[in-house]
Amino acid sequence: MAKNTNPQETADGLTKKVTSPIQRRSFLKYAGAGAALSTLFIMGCDNDDDMNNLPGDGVNLGSGDVGILNYAYALEQLEAAFYTQVVASTSFNTTFSNAMERMILTDIRDHEVAHREFFKAAITSAAPDDIIPGLTPDFSAVNFNDRNAVLATAKTFEDLGVAAYNGAGKLLTSATFLTLAGKIVSVEARHAAEIRDIISNGTFASGPEINNMGMDRALMPKDVLAAAQPFIKEKINFSNLPTT
């Protein structure tokens, strides 16, 4: 479903389309640390610059910094739903017979729920018309009774989350949001390392995800969402997200 109404194509609306990206970027940038989120959004945003918000066009993440926040919100929804299902599985205690591993997975669930609820509250209070709805996860391809399948999916999500935040940093114009994203991405990286070590101890930072300069991946939204879309029932429309 589309989240926004189609903008009215008035002359004034068209003018806004031309100028609003500059307004938003500049204002979000200068508003900086300490400014309330609501202030940022009120000053920096208008709802009517999202193009192609036609019904049936999927869930539109929107544009600008809010679009990136929605993008993060979508990914956190996916992760939170996954770990919630892992921990809620009737076979959780047998699939993961090690108490420490259960504690780890339960902790990660709580962290992802915290991230999801953070984005939901922050976007809702500041830009209620722009927040994407709750998404419907599709984990039909995951056997939650299979330890290896659960861990492999967890590894995919965590590595993808790290790469997503790393790639989205440059797309943000607000230093406040950049720092917030930084606060979350390192926790995702801690998750990724621990999940990898549970799969095979010592693989915390190895494999094709880490380059020969000892750096993690940084992926653009289109590449992240190509990997995440099979796990989400709604079509995610990222066409208005910034690309530089």
Binding site: K16, Q23, A114, A193
Partner: protein, 275 residues
């Protein structure tokens, strides 16, 4: 205040000012409409932010300063792991291999930062093993003779590194390439931190249930010396949003967000390790 006059003045001092401004967004093409859409009083502030973007500075911290600061921290880590990996303290081969993996990453980070500094017409500071004192002025005499201490120091460095990069990222917002690279390093440091914490968890002498993440401001059985590395991690509110609500405990809320350290805080933490 006439923005265009101001720009003309700046252009006299810096003929490249227009090139520094964000041409991708065609800022100046739209600049005419800019003022009309904003409250007049806000224009100078917005203009200031554009100059910040142009000159890569917020709160007077340049990209070059950040790169040099990161170079110091990466050298500190690289020299530590070089010496640590060469010890015979490891109980098993995988532990030694983990240190070698991390050492190689830190050495690669040093190389990258040196290239980035050189590429930006700077001169990278040279560091050697003798630049650092891993006893922290005698406070940690067993860093390379006691396995538990060695892991503790490693954890302290990794958790500091994560918080340090996080605090510096905001100063790189004007430079996408450097920002992205810094983020790519930042998350690797977090992976290191998680693994070192796991290695400590496997030690009988470490606190039970040592986690890969930071709970409140718990220093995980490390000496009180390192408490500043964890102070501030206990927050459970982010951007005005209370995280410790619903099913999320205060512990989980604090774990779910790592916190930045500013330049002065990081400097205070690492100073005892620098000769």
């Amino acid at each position: 205040m006439n923005i265009f006059n101001l720009l003309t003045e700046i252009e006299k001092a810096d003929p490249e000012v227009y090139g520094r401004l964000d041409s991708r967004r065609a800022v100046f093409k739209h600049f005419g409409g800019f003022g009309k859409k904003l409250a007049v009083a806000a224009v100078p502030l917005a203009f200031g932010s554009m100059l910040n973007k142009a000159y890569g500075q917020t709160a007077s911290r340049s990209v070059m300063e950040v790169l040099q600061f990161a170079l110091l921290l990466e050298n500190l880590e690289a020299e530590f792991y070089k010496q640590a990996a060469a010890t015979s303290l490891f109980p098993a081969a995988p532990a030694k291999m983990a240190f070698e993996t991390i050492r190689d990453h830190e050495v690669a980070h040093v190389s990258f930062l040196r290239s980035a500094i050189t590429g930006a017409s700077g001169t990278p500071t040279n560091y050697t093993a003798n630049s650092f004192d891993f006893s922290a002025k005698g406070n940690l005499p067993n860093t390379f003779t006691d396995y538990g201490t060695m892991l503790a120091v490693a954890q302290a460095f990794e958790d500091t590194g994560v918080r340090a990069y996080k605090g510096q990222a905001q100063f790189l917002i004007s430079n996408n390439a450097v920002l992205e690279a810094a983020l790519q390093i930042h998350s690797i440091e977090a992976r290191h931190a998680a693994h070192i914490r796991r290695m400590r968890r496997d030690l009988a002498s470490s606190p039970a249930n040592q986690k890969p993440w930071i709970t409140l401001k718990d220093r995980g059985g490390l000496p009180a010396l390192v408490q500043p590395i964890y102070d501030g991690e206990e927050v459970t509110t982010q951007a005005g949003v209370n995280i410790a609500t619903g099913s999320v405990s205060a512990n989980a809320a604090s774990e779910a967000f790592d916190e930045p350290l500013d330049t002065a805080q990081v400097t205070a933490i690492v100073t005892p390790f620098i000769r």
